[in-house]
Amino acid sequence: MTSANPVQPDKTVLLDMYSKMSLIKHNDETARKLLMSGRLPMIYYSPRGQEVIPSAVSVNLRRDDYICTIYRGTHDMLAKGVPLDALWAELAGRATGTCKGKGGPMHITHPESGCMITTGIVGSSMPIANGLALASQIKGDGRVTVAYFGDAASNIGAFHEALNMASVWKLPVVFVCQNNRYGEHTKFEKATAVAKVSDRAASYSMPGIHVDGNDPLAMHAAAREAIERARAGEGPTLIEAVTFRFFGHVFGDADGYMDKDEKAAAMAADPVPRYRQWLMDQGHASEAELAAIDTGHESAIKAAVEKALAAPWPDPSELYKDVFTHELAPA
């Protein structure tokens, strides 16, 4: 496994990254099984194949650091620490969910773990991330905010406005573009007039890092560099992490628009087992240790799902709550 990274993180960090990747992978497998079986119908954007990126980012973050993510965001959330029980209850639309069942898959929010917003609008994670970073800059609380978004989102106006403002104000924010080669059904090249999203950083006098988002060590190094810069008050960074989504845009996606060889090759190079093997080859962990991590996650996910599906539904009166601080009178 190649890596641009000279300094290697220590064993605990290496295993922590693996643990997050394993959690995301198993969580996604469970989600797709539940959808396939019809046990839990929901709109679901699989992050399978993109596990490395938020895992490598999150091991460099403090619990009180913020993230802003998107509809394709369960990997970002889990890596940051959104608890399985509350996450699954929300996916199931239950009163015990992170958002009392009001937000759902595209709007998971969990401030305790720093997940401040999940947006369903392409590009909108970035301007809001600036605001969280602005508050940190004013308070001097040393927090860093990470804005996750996709490759196609780099063509929308909010990207441009947000990166320009972040640079002008030297905000402690890191823009992480997860370039999975497609925006819905459209190939990156067909919609984007630049070969590397990271090259757009120059338009904002901001460092731009182009990295293999499926290489845990390279991704870790890129994330650490950007997060340290932000925390030191030296301003924002744009990271383009190249990756691939294994299961298309949204669950049920036929993939007819996809380059089959490209997809096959990407899946053959599945970053999770690859990293797992590397950890063993390098003697960082034994098969048994890693298996324990995997099974631990599997059972925790299973338990969370069962708890979620048994949990109560929100009461219809919830429609009148949380619109404003004061409760509305039913119309």
């Binding site: 759902g104 709007h107 063509n155 929308i156």
Partner: protein
């Protein structure tokens, strides 16, 4: 009984017919070309293959640029159809739509026209929650210079879409996503146009008039059906065009029944129903047996959880309750 087709097929056939019959008709939007599967729902399948990449284009995710390109092309004599995947995404192109498309004819003193059709889908019932299901027609209805249109059956969608495409003013054409896979009679002719500004009486009834549009036409009809069993005659009117709306048909109908209910899936407060109800009261004051009742969604974002989403959407029971209110 004639051929049954889905709303999606009706749209696809109307688009084919329009592009075939007029070379100035263009289509662009996210994923609309065939390499991208003719749209995430396949509404434009086959068009780029048949009419070429110049006229049918998949775009970057750049709604301002999409609408801007459509406006400019329209000013230069084209008839662009711009697809904004979901109505909530209109918000990122709101300047282009409301400050430009809607106003250029007036601000230029009639020198420039914007024969543009903006297609979008929306609608709750899918668990897509707060940012993917809003009905925002009231915003556009309040914006002078825009026509706002929506159809209730495959044939209606086809005829109204054709009318919008060949209308010389900018039209917001709203497609109900859940209805995409519902079947109905195919239009006699995929090129047939239903004149804008003319409502359709879906069902006669002597006791109450329900004015509605889009997906609520089916809901209101179900309510009418149920009340027919009780011997209550409910007339259902499908506005079809929200701007300009058919005042004559509505006022003549209510002048007969003296009772009216307006229902839409959009949030009730400050919604389209308020304008319709106000005009009915203004024009038929003294003739009404009861105040016009308005049915719509409560004042919250569209919720995710299934029971909440059900409670949020105006259903037949809510329409029936409103009708009963006018009868007491």
């Amino acid at each position: 009984m004639s051929k049954q087709i889905t709303t999606l097929q009706a749209i696809n056939e109307a688009l084919h017919h329009a592009m075939e019959s007029d070379p100035t008709v263009l289509l662009f939007g996210e994923d609309v070309a065939d390499p991208e599967e003719g749209g995430v729902n396949g509404a434009s399948k086959g068009l780029s293959t048949r009419f070429g990449d110049l006229r049918v284009r998949s775009t970057p995710i750049s709604e301002q640029a999409i609408i801007g390109a459509a406006i400019g092309a329209a000013m230069a004599g084209m008839r662009p159809i711009a697809e904004i995947m979901l109505m909530n995404f209109m918000t990122v192109a709101m300047d282009m739509i409301t400050n430009h498309a809607a106003k250029l004819r007036f601000m230029s003193g009639g020198q420039t026209a914007v024969p543009l059709t903006i297609r979008c889908t929306t609608g709750a019932g899918f668990g897509t929650a707060g940012q993917h299901a809003d009905y925002l027609e009231a915003w556009f209805a309040h914006t002078p210079g825009l026509k706002v249109v929506t159809g209730a059956t495959p044939a209606e969608v086809s005829g109204l879409l054709n009318a919008c495409i060949f209308d010389d003013d900018p039209c917001i054409f709203i497609e109900n996503l859940p209805a995409y896979w519902q079947k109905g009679e195919a239009p006699a002719d995929p090129g047939a146009r239903i004149p804008l500004g003319q409502a359709r009486t879906v069902r006669d009834g002597g006791d109450v008039t329900v004015i509605t549009y889009g997906p609520q036409v089916a809901v209101a009809s179900a309510a009418a059906e149920q009340l027919a069993g009780e011997g209550i005659g409910v007339e259902v009117i499908d506005l079809r065009t929200i701007v300009p709306w058919d005042r004559d048909t509505v006022l003549n109908a209510v002048a007969r029944t003296n009772r009216a209910v307006v229902t839409h899936e959009a949030v009730r407060a400050f919604g389209v129903g308020a304008e319709i109800a106000s005009v009915i009261h203004e024009e038929l004051f003294g003739q009404l047996r009861a105040p016009v009742q308005r049915v719509g969604a409560p004042s919250s974002a569209v919720p995710y959880s299934n029971p909440l989403e059900k409670a949020f959407m105006p259903d037949a029971d809510k329409v029936i309750a409103a009708i009963r209110k006018t009868l007491n």
